[in-house]
């Protein structure tokens, strides 16, 4: 009997401990993700509007991953703060199409009418789901639904969202060329996939453009695909050898490899080296902090995931949802650009960015989005590719 009492006491105690832990987690989460919505209170027109139940399925990683998941979710939360919708996110049990499918099934069973999924991994799941649930609206970011054969098949109730990464890369290239002291830049990509390649092509074009217009004489001397998105140590080593060879700004579009590059950058910058990293996808300023104030991130080439989620929800509510096709987010609709953390940029650089953004938006400059276009662009701008660099 005594033993049992002890056991029971332990069980109760551990329950309380667990409970306090998780409640703390909860508070942190609320603070982090929904801080902006707390400020807003229910205004009148909120009740008049149509309600919609919007849900998101997370990709690998958590909702506060400082990347795809968080970016998308913040857009959804922002819409919730402005309008009358119900939101929810669900983390799948695993990372296969089947796991994604059961997350979608669960959300539909719970009454959600619109489902947003960030990342190419959802392509096959959305392909299945769009057929099973013709009344549900789906939005997939950075991917096209397909049946496992990579032939896009977008149903009327689905819209897929892509970004003009080359334009974001272009701005990053201009800024880097203007801010570089050694005139030697580098690009590190993850795998050779369109979303990554376009960043690199744009980056090179940006440097060429800056050279012609502002006489910066910068070159992208190293152009590397690491081959993965998770080799943190590899990114660190690569960055170290690049900085040693005289590169002072590295633009990385490579997930975890980029984390390694930022790590190496932090160490060097903390010890007084004048080097920079250009971040990708979202504003990576915070990730690049090596003390309380200073970051190694010069700027970030961002895709406005939140904006596209916001607009997508808005289109469903207003009945203007464009299903059956891919939507492109570029400079024209503020889908890509540089991050708002611009304290390290000189006035001249900021102005150059604004001018270039204007020119791209009104079509004066067409940023190359393929190797052929890039080669033509470089020739037009009198840029000779350094030996050993292949795009």
């Amino acid at each position: 009997m005594k033993k049992f009492i002890t056991l029971f006491a332990m069980a109760t105690l551990s329950t309380v401990l667990l409970a306090s832990c998780s409640s703390k987690d909860e508070v942190v989460k609320e603070d982090k993700i929904a801080s902006d919505e707390k400020v807003k209170d229910k205004d009148e027109n909120k009740d008049k509007e149509k309600t919609l139940k919007v849900a998101m399925v997370t990709d690998s990683g958590t909702i506060d991953d400082k990347s795809f998941n968080q970016g998308t979710w913040e857009g959804i939360k922002k819409y919730e703060a402005d309008h009358n919708i119900e939101t929810q996110y669900l983390k799948p049990e695993g990372e296969t199409t089947q796991h994604y499918m059961s997350a979608i099934h669960n959300l539909v069973d719970s009454g959600y009418e619109m489902i947003i999924t960030p990342g190419y991994k959802f392509e096959e799941a959305i392909y299945e789901a769009q057929e099973i649930y013709p009344d549900i609206k789906f939005t997939i970011i950075d991917g096209n639904p397909h049946a496992g054969d990579y032939v896009p098949d977008i149903a009327e109730n689905t819209s897929s969202i892509f970004y003009s990464e080359h334009e974001a890369g272009f701005y990053a290239g201009i800024v880097s060329a203007l801010e570089s002291n050694t005139r030697s830049l580098a690009f590190i990509g993850g795998m050779e996939m369109p979303a990554v390649q376009k960043f690199g092509w744009g980056f090179t074009a940006g440097a060429a453009y800056a050279n012609e217009v502002y006489g910066t004489a910068a070159k992208v001397t190293d152009y590397i695909y690491e081959g993965s998105y998770d080799n943190v140590a590899g990114g660190k080593t690569l960055a170290a050898s690049l900085y040693d060879s005289g590169v002072d700004i590295i633009f990385t579009a490579a997930g975890g490899v980029g984390v390694g590059v930022i790590d190496e950058g932090k160490t060097r910058r903390a010890s007084g080296n004048d080097i920079w990293v250009v971040g990708v996808d979202i504003d990576q300023f915070e990730d690049g902090k090596y003390n309380n104030e200073d970051s190694v991130i010069l700027t970030s080439a961002v895709k406005e995931l939140g904006n596209s989620a916001y607009d997508s929800i808005d289109s469903v509510i207003n009945g203007t949802f464009e299903g059956g096709k891919s939507l492109i987010f570029d400079s024209k609709n503020n889908g890509v650009g540089l991050s708002s953390s611009d304290e390290y940029l000189s006035e001249k650089t900021k102005e150059a960015y604004e001018v270039a953004f204007e020119k791209v938006t009104n079509g004066t400059i067409v940023v190359p989005s393929s190797v052929y276009e890039l080669e033509a662009f470089l020739e037009d701008h009198g840029y000779t590719t350094p030996s050993g660099v292949e795009y």
């Binding site: 987690d25 909860e26 059961s102 099973i132």
Partner: protein
Amino acid sequence: MSEDSIKRISPLISIILGLLLGYLLLLLVGYDGNSGFKYLFQGGIKGITEGKYRRIGDTLAQMTPLMLTGASVAFAFRTGLFNIGASGQMLFGGFVAVLVGITVDLPPVILPLVATLLAGVAGGLYGFLPGYLKAKYNIHEVVIGIMMNYVSVYLVQYLVKILIPGKYVIESAHIPKEASLKMSFISNIFRGSPLNAGFFVGVIALIVIYVILEKTTFGFELKAVGFNKDAAKYSGMKVNKNIIYSMMISGCLAGLAGATFYIGYTNHIKLGTVPTLGFDGIAVSLLGKNSPIGIFFSSFLFGYLKNGGSFMASSTDIPRELVDIVIAIIIYFSAISFVIEKFLNKLLVKMKKEGK
């Protein structure tokens, strides 16, 4: 109340206790326990009365590999062995199934069956080594089992990369539809659910091990080794041979679990991780009291909770992490049902004494 009936009801009591504590936890943290549990219960079967069998299909699909890993662990337990390597055997078996599915050309229906059988054989071979080392050198099977899990992860990663690389580095190539255990006659009834022929593989395997353990001399010998190795040896049984056989059969069951998961539930292998289903199998087997019938029901409970838990997370504002904790508590209590059993037995003895 007899000791026998205590043995029967103690798992039920522990499940109820687990549910209660999970419910209390939700209240403690400040969530609506009633709606949470409503969705937890609904989630496993919702729609069954309206002729929509998807959710129950989901539950059965979640249950399928657990039935087999549970059986795998239980079979080893019955012989006095602790097969903690079920995860590794499952992954290796699953790899063979995927490999066969992609590379071998056979007519549909036959192909997935051949792949499944070969997965069982592969799992059995993978279980041979821990069994052999245990029998020959008396090296503890838990140590080897854990190490073999790592070996399995990296071996499969290597083999996938050279034999069946996928489009992305983190996964294998996908099997063609004809190689999948998802067969149309099941999918048509349970529309939209991943339920597949693996479920029948699991049920048949449970029946087979029931027959082996309860109706054959071989099974009797295995159990005898489990009860008392020395006595078994003294009565002329080949203890070492039986240990190896037992580990191989256990591995075979885990390999089958791999087939039902990798060519049934999903269609490719994610690299770099060991499937946790092998470890869940330990809890399934404990709750099922190591008996095939018990495992059938306990794996059903696990599948139900997994499926219901997801529904609870999607229908309420209870965060996924908390849902997982609640389910872990329920499972935790279920798995320690022997404590409840002991307690009830003591109570029984006491009551009898007082009665006298």
